[in-house]
Amino acid sequence: MSTAGKQKRERLTDAQLLMTISICIFVFMYAAAMIFMGGGFLKTQQLFDLLNDNAALIIISCALTIVMIGGGINISVGGVIGLTVMAGALFLNAHSDGGPFSIVLTFLLAVGIGLAFGLLQGFLVSHLEIQPFIVTLAGMFLARGLTTMLSVNPVSVSHSDFSALVKTKIQIAFLGYTAKNGNLIPAKLEIGAVTAVAVVILVYLMLRYTKFGRNIYAIGGNQGSALTLGINVRRTRFYSYLISGLLSGLAGFVFLMHKPAGNASVAMRSEMDAIASSIIGGTLLTGGVGNVIGTFFGTMILATIQKIIALSPLNASWWQDMASGAMLGVFILLQSVVLSQRGRGRMGLPSWLKFRKE
């Protein structure tokens, strides 16, 4: 008997199953929108716009997924976006004739603010072992307070080079469509959207193929065990918060490139959307289970609901909120039903759906 040779395909783990469910839901939902609503949903641009509009959210959702897998939480991400956007806008206005170099400095400023928050929160959570919820709640208040301190009034960016950067879009002709007047309008993707997708891929690779990434899963699964297995729990946790801070700073810069204006209410509540995205994507709040690909689709599911409602006769913010809430509720219910049924061995895919016959 040799198990070393050919390996049987393992059945899906719970995490993979949850991710698969969210991908399927996204596909069904989008397909339904294409069939029943038509119009914009039939154009690639609609999909790209979901990415363009939600690039920052995708990035902070990844940040949240990382800390949630490690058994923590970070609710300061939205506040950090608000702060970096405001600080970036003020900085750009102060150097409106600074040329491209000032944009680089703005980028560094944004990332620096994020890193500073990550550093401080990471230290408090991992070394002083304070509850992450409280630490990041304090971080959120701090960031929001600093934002308002920087400027009570909204600040619009007037910086010619930056405006040019905002307008820069990647145009993909063959995915475009022909307008009524016969002109070909290419599909446009913003730099931020590309960044967000790149972040998803990089974080996926990090979580899957680096020792650090696997250590995060280990400490989220069982912290005590992780310690006896020889993992440096403190360092791992510290870096997970540092990275989530860094990503929030980056998300702030991406946000600024999408809407170049600072405002005290920028990205308000977005940490909650990010948590919802992670959960819909199959990340467990209890830690140890999760995947950023799932998170990406979680964000897209939420974004699609919002879009569908915006384009429907029900267009009102309360309907969007209630639909998002209902979606989250239904999804959590589905998750727990699926997982409990699976635990009792009552649920299996019908044989015709199995990937490979055994």
Partner: protein, 499 residues
Amino acid sequence: MQNNEVLRMRGICKSFLGVRALNNVDFTLRKGEIHALMGENGAGKSTLIKVLTGVYEKDGGSITVEGKDAHIRSPQDAQKAGISTVYQEITLCPNLTVAENMFIGRTKGALVNWKEREKRTAEILDSLGIPARPRQELSGCSLAVQQMVAIARAVDMQCKVLILDEPTSSLDEKEVEMLFGLMRDLKSRGVGIIFVTHFLEQVYAVSDRITVLRNGELVGEYVAEELPQVELVAKMMGKDLKDLADLEQVGVKNAGEKDMVYEAENLSSTEARPFGFHIRRGEVNGFTGLLGSGRSESVRAVFGADRVTGGTVKMNGKSVRITNPHEAMKAGIGYLPEDRKRDGIIADLSVRENIILALQVMRGFFHPMSRKEMEQFADEYIKALQIKTASQETPVGSLSGGNQQKVILARWLLTHPEYLILDEPTRGIDVGTKLEIQKLVLKLAEDDVSVTFISSEIEEMLRVCSRLIVMRDRKIVGELTGDDLTQATVMKTIAGGEQ
């Protein structure tokens, strides 16, 4: 010094707040030897193990591994010295795959080579005959296999000393056999194994040598074959053997023809198949059977701790409805759960609060007890049961296991139950307290309280119970009374089959 000694501990001392936990203890482990470390609770077994694994720092003495001085100050030091421990509670990550659990935390480089890991894991599992697949999630493996994966990890880390701390507590017989097979295999590879367990038969099944500790001191090191089981027990218990004889005479075994207190017919719950039994006033009966035979599930159904799905129940001849613990309590039933830490004590509450808990629930939320009344009750039972606690206000979690158990007993006695169910009341507590609890049960029976007693130790059941209900595969397969109450008959009934 013989050169096949792999571990040598000499004159180990350790005190906690002035209390001697280990006094000048020696321990020697040879290459390719399974060495059982025996002793009752409080003997110093776990302290010795924790000193060896770097959880505690020793106060004095020396440890040498393969002739070299080992300075062990942390679990990491111990691992580096070649000492690995597999605990009863699995210390692996359930959410990772078997292969990851084998290698996480001990590889060089920043990246993970999945292919290589899985290939290596498959080889190791194969060579040790462990029935697990590398890409399987650990939580999908049985407890026994998880334990074996932990052992495989230790072996692959070139451990010279493998400590198995109560590895068989939650395994069934087949799994125990599997584990023993693995242990013998490792032995032939020259690994020295320290085997800590409570189960006497298991000690004799695999061990070469036995070291006995008592009250933090070394009693002696013996070759297993030359030490009869009775003598081992005597050595572990010391002078307590006489007490055992006393108790034999105390045992009142006349259930008499008193009236029925509790009768159940076709009672079933989500966890227990339909069963029926009855108990008379002042009777002590017992449920016995192997782990997983349904004995605990049955009494949980009696108390309504699991969801009751059918059957009829009579208390004192009158039909009652018991579907949850509260109804059971009102009917006069008390239940001491099997898992003391999880279902019994509330560790952060004081002794007083733990004691009055059940009575408060019986009286209801709107009838609070006065502080004076609570203190009076607590005081009374601390004295009556001789609970060793600094004060009433000490958190229960800081008491020893035996005293925690007494607190839970006090909690139920305070409600003056007619029928008391004790599921494993003596598990994991020291011999002295064990005897006290046994005596208490018999005294309760004299006072006309009916008691159902469950224990894994058949000797104990025979001593205390006047009727034994034997379960196998979640069914009642026999009832033994009178002359049938011997170890041999009980074993035969449990095992089933002919004769």
